[in-house]
């Protein structure tokens, strides 16, 4: 049997086109309400998608690589993504929930406990999209570090900005290492409730993680018992060599941005050559999608409203769901195992994915007709890891 395709959607505001909010079907006023996010995730779950991601950043949206642009004609403002994911968790039962959380200015301990808690409240459906925050603008929201202004991304060559970004990914790798150790720091059977000895836990099954690195040291153990999945899913978006290496080293799933099948094959090859421990990295491709027979015209109209042609780090697809299904099938032969689709306009393009695309893929035998696992790792065919500390002699 053919391996099925994994499908996810990336949720951001009312869609990825900066003028999406001008479409009548959108609800731009509601993006700061719980009900809005609950409806979107329910729609994604109705489509049996593997997971949704929630965009986030420690600063306002901007058309500039580093700095606020002062524009009042695009959506500005966000809620914290981890909390949105937690808010929708009790209202859903099967779909994975992957919020973005930044490693650059945050405490690894807090982020790790928040993701572990998301895994508890969702009963094993949590993931983490790890993100770095390279710019001076966000750094000044914290005032702890003096960062260079980023003029353009990706940063050219081996200049100071490229070195700075490499350091941020090294720090992110340390943050993920801390999180992974903390998630393992309670063995699964640490809680014993032994009335005879008066002990609630077997403290030999709780472990100090004793992480010491260049940016932080974390003693441990976690304050939160081991999450239901053992290790919530770690994911990252990667466009270049440095984040590829980070993803291969630290993530379970990587989102890449090829624009052609050839580029897809090349990035898969490059990623597979990077040494890695454990399960193979799951490679997803990101695509911004405008779907329907009138997709190109819709996008052109939005481009007009925004005053610029919309382009993206990811390939921008306009066409019917059958045409998109063709493309996904084609890239799959280049080694892409799943897709994270960024709907151009929400709800229009989201519904086209959850209702149209999934049906098209299902007719081809490439997509599930029911959820087959209760956890996010399970949906992706990943097992529940044993705590690294359980293997050690204590």
């Amino acid at each position: 049997m053919t391996e099925p395709i994994h499908l996810a959607v990336a949720l951001d505001g009312v869609g990825w086109h900066p003028a999406a909010w001008r479409e009548e079907c959108t609800r731009p006023r509601e993006i700061f309400t719980a009900g809005y996010w609950a409806r979107l995730v329910a729609e994604a779950e109705r489509g049996l998608l593997d997971f949704v991601t929630f965009e986030d950043a420690l600063g306002l949206q901007s058309t500039l690589p580093d700095g606020v642009d002062g524009r009042t004609d695009q959506v500005r403002g966000r809620l914290d993504a981890v909390l949105i994911a937690a808010r929708v968790a009790p209202l859903t039962t099967r779909i994975g929930l992957i919020p973005t959380a930044t490693t650059t200015h945050t405490e690894p301990f807090h982020v790790a406990m928040a993701i572990a808690t998301l895994d508890h409240v969702s009963r094993g459906r949590a993931g983490w999209r790890v993100r770095v925050s390279p710019g001076r603008t966000h750094a000044r929201h914290f005032g702890r570090r003096d960062f260079p202004r980023i003029e353009r991304l990706p940063a050219p060559g081996d200049g100071p900005v490229a070195r700075h970004i490499r350091e941020l990914f090294d720090e992110a790798a340390d943050a993920v290492e801390v999180a992974r150790r903390l998630w393992d720091s309670w063995e699964d059977d640490a809680e014993i409730r032994d009335v005879a000895t008066g002990r609630f836990i077997d403290r030999d099954k709780l472990h100090y993680i004793d992480f010491s690195g260049r940016w932080f040291s974390v003693k441990g153990p976690a304050i939160t018992p081991r999450p239901p999945q053992g290790q919530p899913l770690v994911t990252a978006l990667a466009h270049a060599r440095i984040p590829y290496e980070f993803a291969a080293r630290s993530a379970d799933v990587v989102y890449v941005t090829p624009h052609t099948r050839e580029e897809a094959a090349a990035v898969v090859r490059e990623l597979r050559e990077i040494p890695r421990d454990g399960d193979p990295l799951k490679i997803f491709a990101d695509l911004v999608v405008f779907l329907g027979p009138d997709a190109a015209a819709r996008k052109a109209r939005l481009d007009d409203l925004d005053g610029a042609e919309f382009t993206s780090d990811a390939a921008v697809f306009t066409g019917t769901v059958e045409e998109l299904a063709d493309l996904l099938e084609d890239w799959r032969r280049a080694g892409i195992e799943g897709y994270r689709l960024r709907p151009g306009v929400i709800p229009h393009d989201l519904k086209a994915i959850t209702r149209g695309l999934t049906a098209a893929l299902r007719r081809r035998g490439l997509f599930r007709s029911a959820y087959e696992a209760p956890t996010l790792r399970g949906l992706l065919g990943l097992g529940r890891p044993v705590s690294r500390y359980a293997r050690a002699v204590t």
């Binding site: 001008r22 479409e23 695009q74 807090h110 603008t137 609630f200 003693k219």
Partner: protein, 521 residues
């Protein structure tokens, strides 16, 4: 919780909000003009709904010359990690499974409580250098679990204890504002500080803070959070699809702050939330803590459990409010309390004794004795007499728990009580560490809670159940209806936000937090 010490009155704000590409530099909005002038407490008390007023006679109020009855406020504290929580009971459930949180929060909401409260602990406690294993341990990250609870509750407030020492204002302010958005205006923040290197070992900004600096850090943190919350005008979002204006020009002010602990500049990410600011809770009884609460908090969570101590504390704190331009109803005083309810007073007393026994297992008795004595006493028999061993007052045998008071005096008192009452170690520890506040039949408990509130020893209580998750079931089923009959507790929520439940009025604008005129620090 790692610490819950008071923080002092904030200094004059070093921060400003204005200018930048999104703002012409005007000050953020102050108090909305629709806000009524401060009500005097007596006026507020008269506004008891007719449906509840009819039963006033039961409590004896309403006679000529007597003041109307104050309304009781109630909160539910999900048990933290100490020996209040009895885990050995067969009915004890998980302390981490989400269903336990749902059960307790929904029970409290069924009882029309004001809010659900979570403590914080950022490092597992240690005893004699090893992780303490006798109490319930393991808890979620507070804001994340409260966001999830917002989905399965509709009205009850959601309060998180979050440390100012191991967080940054920009990030925490947006998480709190997010919780307020996602709960429709039900968020509260119990502002605590910590300075110990023990907890700091889990954080990049580590245990560097001087004890005295943590107060100034907390004050500056809160002031800066308020500046961030105020930086989006309430009407900043137009989202006008026709004209293409998403933001109103000038709707987001740039925040610039250069203070002793924080230097930040930029734009906040999150629109003004339904409550404007989450409700601020202050825990701790120190003089600085009282002053901070009087200047800035909506609720003070105290430990004063006796009627006389409660009255003195209440009077002292409320006396401090006028110099901050605040009315007495703007700060609710809510001591922590435990409740044991049974059919009769005698049965409740018996049940309370049994709970205390379960809270102090033989192993816990020795461990708590070791914490007071500061030395290893594992050879002692918990059912035997207090050993004739001198304490080691220089040693702290437990880490991660706040110590209150003078330990030498504590040892002397324990010795005296053991001698006078001829108690074994376990009996002594039960005697000295019992935490029960209200014990009795539903009628007794309702009457005593009402008495405390009417006597101005409290505005209500934060109830700490000894059992997860069903520890408040009896209270809600049997005591709340009696409080309602007495006309001192709501029968339905009348508002949707926590500020409305607490009767605090709208969130103040930035002008409300200046030092009183003519005062210098």
């Amino acid at each position: 919780m790692t610490d819950s010490t008071g923080t002092p009155r904030p200094a004059r704000p070093p921060g400003t909000a204005g200018g930048g590409p999104y703002g012409p530099g005007q000050r953020p909005a102050g108090r909305p003009s629709s806000e009524p002038p401060h009500q005097r407490p007596a006026q507020r008390r008269r506004a008891v709904p007719a449906a509840t007023r009819r039963t006033d006679r039961r409590g004896g109020a309403g006679a000529a010359g007597e003041r109307p009855r104050k309304q009781v406020h109630l909160a539910a504290h999900f048990p933290g990690v100490n020996n209040t929580t009895v885990w050995s009971d067969p009915r004890a459930g998980s302390q981490i499974d989400f269903s336990s949180f749902v059960h307790l929060a929904r029970t409290a909401e069924r009882g029309k409580f004001d809010f659900f409260f979570l403590a914080e602990g950022l490092r597992l406690r240690e005893h004699k250098g090893r992780i303490y294993d006798l109490d319930v341990v393991g808890r979620p990250e507070s804001l994340t679990v409260l966001a999830a609870l917002a989905a399965v509750t509709e009205r009850i407030g959601l309060a998180a204890t979050v440390n100012t020492t191991f967080n940054e204002p920009y990030e925490l302010a947006r998480r709190l504002a997010t919780l307020d958005h996602l709960s429709g205006g039900r968020a509260a923040w119990n502002v605590v500080t910590s300075f110990d290197a023990f907890t700091g070992a889990n954080f990049r900004r580590g245990g560097y803070l001087d004890a005295k600096d943590r107060y100034t850090r907390a004050a500056e943190f809160l002031r800066l959070s308020r500046t961030l919350w105020d930086s989006w005008q309430p009407d900043a979002i137009l989202a006008d699809q026709g004209t293409g204006r998403f933001l109103r020009p000038g709707g987001i002010a740039e925040v610039r702050h250069a203070g002793r602990h924080f230097t930040i500049e930029g734009h906040f990410t999150t629109p003004r939330s339904p409550q404007g600011h989450p409700v601020i809770i202050q825990a701790g009884d120190s003089d600085e803590g009282r002053e901070f609460a009087a200047s800035a908090a909506g609720v003070i969570f105290t430990r004063h459990a006796t009627l006389e101590a409660g009255k003195a504390f209440y009077a002292d704190v409320k006396r401090r409010l006028p110099k901050y331009g605040r009315a007495p109803h703007e700060l609710k005083i809510m001591p922590g309390a435990t409740v044991v309810v049974a059919d009769t007073d005698a049965e409740a007393a018996e049940l309370a004794a049994e709970i205390r026994r379960r809270q102090v297992s033989p192993q816990t008795a020795i461990a708590l004795l070791e914490q007071v004595w500061g030395r290893d006493l594992s050879a002692c028999d918990p059912d035997g007499p207090l050993p004739d061993i001198e304490p080691d007052l220089s040693s702290d045998i437990i880490q991660g728990r706040v110590r209150h008071g003078d330990r030498a005096a504590l040892v002397a008192r324990w010795r005296e009580v053991a001698r006078e009452k001829n108690l074994t170690i376990r009996e002594l520890v039960i005697e000295m560490t019992g935490r029960q506040t209200f014990i009795g039949s539903p009628e007794t408990v309702a009457r005593r809670i009402d008495e405390y509130v009417q006597a101005d020893a409290a505005d209500g209580f934060i109830l700490v159940p000894h059992l997860i998750p069903g520890g408040l079931d009896d209270f809600v089923d049997r005591v709340v209806p009696l409080l309602q009959e007495r006309g001192v507790f709501r029968t339905e929520y009348t508002g949707t936000t926590l500020r409305e439940h607490l009767g605090l009025g709208p969130a103040p604008g930035p002008d409300r937090y200046l030092d009183p005129p003519g005062e210098t620090r």
